[in-house]
Amino acid sequence: MSKIPLQFRHNGRDVAIFVDGGTNLLVALRELIGDMTPKFGCGQGGCGTCGVLIDGELHLSCLTLAESVAGRSVETLDGMKQGPNLHPLQRAFADNFAAQCGYCTPGMLMAAKALLDRNPSPSRDEVIEAISGNICRCTGYEPIINAILAAAGGRVSA
């Protein structure tokens, strides 16, 4: 079966790849672009660790047909830090012990970024809602919620 050419913006850079029909965006990012920051957890939409922003909106890359992002902008965790500096959210995750094994962290950070980009000072309930599609098996969520609130409150230096 012939490959399909696909072009989109990946963390602000134009990329061009060839995909098989039916390939999901997670596979395209990891195996064809080499961006290993979005993780594979379930491939079913249930865990959220494959979360990326498409045109600024949180999507699950495992449930996104790669072809559907043609001409669109895809943001992953790899694009979050600015040069050598961690993004305030990343800094807050580190300072608040919001990552243990770290498997959920890419999805948590993208879900948190999607929230703060739209709502810079969310309530605790809004933070809980924003990460409700993300599963963490280690932290018990509290440190993650606190980290996101800390980043939003600007109490963490960038």
Binding site: G22, G43, G45, H59, L60, C62, L65, S68, G133
Partner: protein, 272 residues
């Protein structure tokens, strides 16, 4: 396994392609179709997409509203004029699923999914579909009864009449995980009032049968009456009539039958 993806500019071309190929599956938001592909579902060999603006249109200005099949739950939530549909839209998935999942895909979502469709059933919605030979409007109840045979038709949009007030339309989803989780049961009630009495009651239930169904015995108990405690009690005790729930990981059929009347009573009496 690689599949063939066919992308069309217009809905009618996509409908044509679907009607010609029985193994083709339409891709809405993809939250269920991509999951099937990831799991290696070999029954899907062709995926059909349409990039028609008409499919993502919202018309919410008048008394009758229309949602294109490709409208996502996030867009319903962003629309102030669709406030009566915010509770069902918000009850679905987490934020990413609401950014992806569509109104059209929800019509086909099997249990424990299809929550938005429960609301649309209580609102007597109309489903506009396009087959190989043009388009037609089908009452949603008829559409759901024949859902298994709908393969090969493209849903274009759904429409319904805006309820008179927030009191007359109510929605409730029972889930074990909050704020996100699959439905144990889902209920919606439309209770138009005329001269102090209910005229045209509609009660819709999710996860109480293979597809969303109307609780007709409960509707009959409400018809022509005022919404007092005695009437509510009769309607609630009739809630299981005609239902055929199944066991799944979220609840047993027995449990669903036990709780549906309780939650219908709370919904009708305006309790949390």
């Amino acid at each position: 396994m690689a599949v063939t993806v066919k992308t069309f500019a217009s809905a009618s071309e996509a409908a044509g392609a679907l009607s010609l190929d029985r193994t083709a599956r339409y891709l809405g938001g993809g939250t269920l179709v991509m999951r099937a592909l990831n799991e290696g579902d070999v029954s899907i060999s062709t995926v059909v997409r349409a990039q028609d603006q008409a499919l993502t249109r919202i018309d919410a200005s008048g008394p009758r509203i229309t949602l294109g099949a490709g409208v996502t739950f996030a867009r319903v939530l962003a629309e102030r004029d669709l406030a009566f549909l915010h509770a069902p839209a918000r009850s679905i998935g987490g934020p990413a699923v609401r950014n992806m999942g569509t109104v059209g895909g929800n019509l086909f979502a099997p249990n424990p999914y299809g929550d938005f469709t429960v609301a649309l059933l209580a609102l007597d919605a109309t489903v506009a579909v396009q087959g190989g030979f043009g388009s037609r409007d089908i009452p949603i109840e008829e559409f759901l009864q024949a859902r298994e045979r709908q393969a090969g038709t493209l849903v274009l949009s759904v429409s319904c009449t805006r309820p008179a007030s927030s009191e007359t339309f109510r929605y409730r989803k029972i889930a074990r995980i909050k704020p996100k989780g699959g439905s144990v049961i889902t209920l919606a009630a439309h209770l138009p009032i005329s001269g102090g009495r209910i005229a045209g009651a509609r009660i819709a239930l999710g996860s109480m049968a293979p597809t969303q169904i109307r609780a007709r015995a409960a509707e009959r108990a409400l018809e022509g009456r005022s919404l007092d405690a005695a009437t509510i009690a009769v309607a609630a005790s009739a809630a299981t009539e005609g239902t055929s729930p199944s066991d799944n990981a979220l609840g047993s059929a027995w449990y669903r039958r036990e709780i549906v009347g309780v939650h219908l009573r709370r919904l009708l009496s305006g309790q949390d």
